[in-house]
Symmetry: C2
Subunit: 207 residues, 2 copies
DNA sequence: CCTCTTTCATAGCACTCATTACGAAACCCA
DNA sequence: TGGGTTTCGTAATGAGTGCTATGAAAGAGG
């Protein structure tokens, strides 16, 4: 929600209004970061894809880092719904994992988007200058893992899961497999292959 | 083996010999690529870590791309032994997967190396200029997956595995989980956590 | 209309990028 | 001790990096 502050402040204020569709430009930026990664996407490439000039980018989005972080938010509120939402909606940890895995298989092989997961691939490594961006992505991954672990821990407390079950490992394993599915997608795996990976992973879940 | 050609040609030829330890410099380059990624590691950083000047780097290793590809070879012939070797040594697909998963947990949390897997993280995304490097890494991942699939297919032919088993999915799943373990390691997971992920993944294997 | 505020496009900032001339220095072989 | 060959350190190349100063233009309110 933080990135929206800039967008809100930009709307309805005196002076010349933005001459371009801010949301559309943000979407184009997301696609480019998704495809090429954070540090390895230049501002010149961004302005070309967004069809705006560099000063416009800076007045509308702050700088490259803030633009990226806002694309991450845009990504998380995308069509498939947020990962946390999928977990919340599920009634059991296993169902949450199933939703996450199968939705990932779909999202990572979208027709109108690059392959894989923006959160997984756009800043896997990088220079010290991009440490903040990497930390932000790590934080998101941790949130998802934590939510899944809590959901699964509820199952154990409710007696739906054997007490010796390693719920933390199940959550970490599921998130890890999803990250790996992103790599597979970037390596050319199609939706069917990702779904078979997802179903295989689900076999590790008790119940 | 291809990168060795340059190294072989460099040895025992007329003129002034190299004044530095080529293998040691290569190792330092590997550590830096491992930590920061291919495109996001500059030649200046490389020369500093390798303790050589830029012209020395270029005469000894060709250019940045060939240096990286040679570090990848060096990585694959590292202390843990190659992934393909682990698969070959195993007597069943499940044992191969177990070896891969558990060795990865160790290798991704080494004391003297950056976290995660060089093959997984150093070029997850990037500009078009680095497409060749990404393709090389993709090829390696495919080789490992293929070897694991073949090993597992043998189990099925030998009757050790139910005929309806999806061996391709098992192999793809296992490689994907390993890639995800690399992400987890970079997110700060310790060896114990990776091992618990590995054991959980193993539960998806029949037998 | 005028004023105020903001965005616009042009152009350029200082800096870093990968890569390489250049001449001096070091080694092998004769 | 020479010639031949190569690497050495210094310094620089052109291109690209993220980012911004500048003045003109566009809107809103009076």
């Amino acid at each position: 929600m933080k990135g929206m502050e800039l967008a809100e402040n930009l709307a309805r204020r005196p002076g010349r209004p933005l001459s371009f569709d801010r949301a559309a430009a943000l979407h184009q930026a997301m696609l480019l970061f998704w495809e090429n990664g954070y540090e390895t996407t230049s501002v010149a490439e961004l302005t070309k894809a967004m069809q705006i000039t560099a000063p416009s980018l800076y007045t509308a989005f702050g700088d490259k880092e803030r633009l990226f972080l806002e694309t991450v938010e845009h990504y998380q509120t995308g069509t498939t719904g947020t990962a946390l939402g999928l977990i919340r909606k599920a009634s059991t940890g296993r169902e949450a994992a199933s939703n996450l895995l199968l939705e990932s298989a779909v999202a990572f092989t979208g027709r109108d988007t690059p392959p894989g997961c923006l959160l997984a691939s756009s800043a896997a490594t990088g220079s010290a200058a991009a440490a903040g961006v990497r930390a932000a992505l790590t934080s998101i991954r941790r949130q998802i893992e934590l939510a899944l672990r809590r959901k699964t821990a509820c199952d154990m407390k409710a007696g739906r899961l054997a007490p010796e079950t390693d719920v933390a490992a199940l959550a970490a394993f599921t998130v890890a497999t999803i990250q790996g599915m992103s790599v597979a997608a970037r390596d050319g795996a199609d939706r069917k292959k990702l779904e078979r990976i997802a179903y295989t992973a689900l076999a590790a879940w008790p119940g």
